[in-house]
Amino acid sequence: MFGKKIAAGIILVVLLSCTTHRQEQAAKRYVVTSPEVAEIVTLLDGTSHIVGITAECNYPASLQNKTIVGNFGQVSFEKIIELNPDIVFTAGLEQNTLASELHKLDIHTEKIYAQSISEMLHSIENIGNIIGQTKRAEFVIDSLQTAIKSLPQFDVHPDVYVEIYGDPIMSVSDSSFVGQLAELAGGNNLFDSLIREYCRVNAEDVITKNPEIILITYPGMKANDVADRKGWEVISAVKNKRIYTVEDVDPDLILRASPRFISGIKALQKVFYEE
């Protein structure tokens, strides 16, 4: 009799803890407002927990049917509240205000804004701890670090001009994510010491520095348009037709601080060392 009571008690405790665990799992609802974090969360098996994304979160395809809460610069505060999230992952810049507003309503926010490869790897670890996928995060980080070490090395470092905006023309320093990728891919970023990560540059400086490769990372600019710029005909990259646009290198692979950066580096190496 006493044994039956103990067995019933144990079964009850187990059932209750399962229910609680299921409730804890079911309780995890994430809203993600940056495409980089969306890629990381999905890679760490968190896709089913994502209930809201911004319009830029276009990868992977499994995010297609998620509720859109706005775009990066204009996130709808009300739409986020309606989704009743447990965690809202915000980025930096324009989203700092959003984070402080959510904080006032006691909504758990996590700011993830990586601006370098090491910061991005740290973000993976951070997000893994937050969503309870620590082991998976460790595995992903190890894989990426191994992939970095296995990247082919080249003796020649072509001079590269990375243009991230066309009017006014803007380039990137080596403290920007894409600047670091360009260097890792073997290129010599000609504007590596700009005072800001993304900074206006002068056409005179571009012509004087004479890049061997021009990389355009924004849509709408064709290689011919760049080659047609007055005074640019003397630049080596223009003379040798080494102007690459978003049709040659997917900007999402090199502008986003996401785990796909290895593919980004490989795409850059393909254009840097094209025969």
């Binding site: 324009e94 009017d167 006014p168 004087t208 710029r229 007055k230």
Partner: protein
């Protein structure tokens, strides 16, 4: 005699400025001809037009605070340019900008004639209202297109560093010639404009078709301002301050004030562009420099008067 000496000094200073602008930093022949000379021409034309039109508007509207943008043309042209940017057509900015200026000109002129009564006050009010409307639309476009904020700031604060394509440069040279011809016509009208300051009745009795004159000044000035804003964005203070400075030195509304204002405006804007390029590690919008220089000058003028 004094004016002659001043004129010679000004010509020498202008020549020295041009040489300095082209040669500073020893950039080499290619950069001087392909990059600096186009920029210098754009700066010259912009300052030349803005100061000349500024004087014309101050006289035509009998308002010392009038300047080329007071009739809304700049907002319309900026609106056109920004529409080109947010639609992804950078290279069409001048065309769209000019179209915006033309549209504004039509709206302002028709609004000013609404109800059959036309006068300078109505023209001024129509221009201000239309300008305010386009400014509101620009604010909305800016909010919805934050990724293009760098370009929009260039349009709103002035940018003489436009990178021309080779074909676009040829079009600009044609625009330069047309603008200079229009300015010469404006100079020829400035004598009649001076008579306008005596009042419509007196001017009419002296044989001037006041309505026709105002329409011509308005149309030509709007076309010129539209072209400048389409290429260089909104550069403030040149059109407002330079005519006052010239009138202070020349003491009176003599016809050649417009010519002198135009050359003085070109000189000042080239100086401001030099400062904008060199004063900070990153190039500043030239409108910021013209504002910093223009404001103290204007306070000085107010104090003298």
């Amino acid at each position: 005699m004094k004016n002659k000496s001043l004129l010679i000094l000004f010509v020498l200073l202008f020549a020295a400025l041009i040489i300095f602008y082209l040669e500073i930093g020893n950039p080499g022949e290619h950069i001087i001809s392909a990059v600096r000379l186009p920029r210098l021409l754009l700066a010259f034309l912009s300052g030349f037009v803005l100061a000349g039109v500024g004087h014309a508007f101050q006289v035509m509207l009998d308002n010392p605070l009038a300047e080329p943008y007071i009739l809304g043309i700049s907002s319309g042209a900026a609106f056109g340019s920004i529409v080109a940017v947010v639609s992804g057509f950078f290279i069409f900015m001048p065309v769209f900008g000019f179209a915006g200026a033309l549209l504004t000109m039509l709206i302002v002129w028709n609004l000013a004639h609404w109800g059959g009564v036309f006068n300078s006050t109505k023209l001024l009010l129509s221009g201000i209202i239309t300008g305010m409307f386009f400014s509101a639309v620009i604010s909305l476009l800016m909010y919805l297109n934050m990724q293009d904020i760098g370009n929009i700031i260039n349009v709103l604060m002035g940018n003489l560093g436009r990178i021309f394509s080779r074909s676009e440069w040829n079009y600009f040279l044609i625009i330069f010639v047309i603008s200079m011809l229009l300015m010469i016509y404006l100079f020829l009208l400035s004598h009649k404009l001076t008579i306008l300051t005596t009042g419509d009745l007196v001017a009419t009795s002296l044989g001037i078709d006041v309505k026709k004159l105002r329409r011509r000044i308005f149309v030509i000035s709007s076309l010129l301002t539209g072209m400048i804003v389409a290429y260089a964005g909104i550069i403030g203070f040149i059109g407002l301050v330079v005519p006052h400075l010239v009138r202070m030195i020349n003491k009176g509304n003599k016809p050649f004030v417009m010519v002198v204002s135009s050359f003085a405006g070109a000189f000042l804007l080239i100086v401001c562009d030099l400062i904008a390029k060199t004063i900070a590690p990153i190039e500043l919008p030239v409108g910021v420099i013209t504002a910093f220089i223009g404001c103290p000058f204007f306070i000085l003028i107010m104090m003298k008067k």
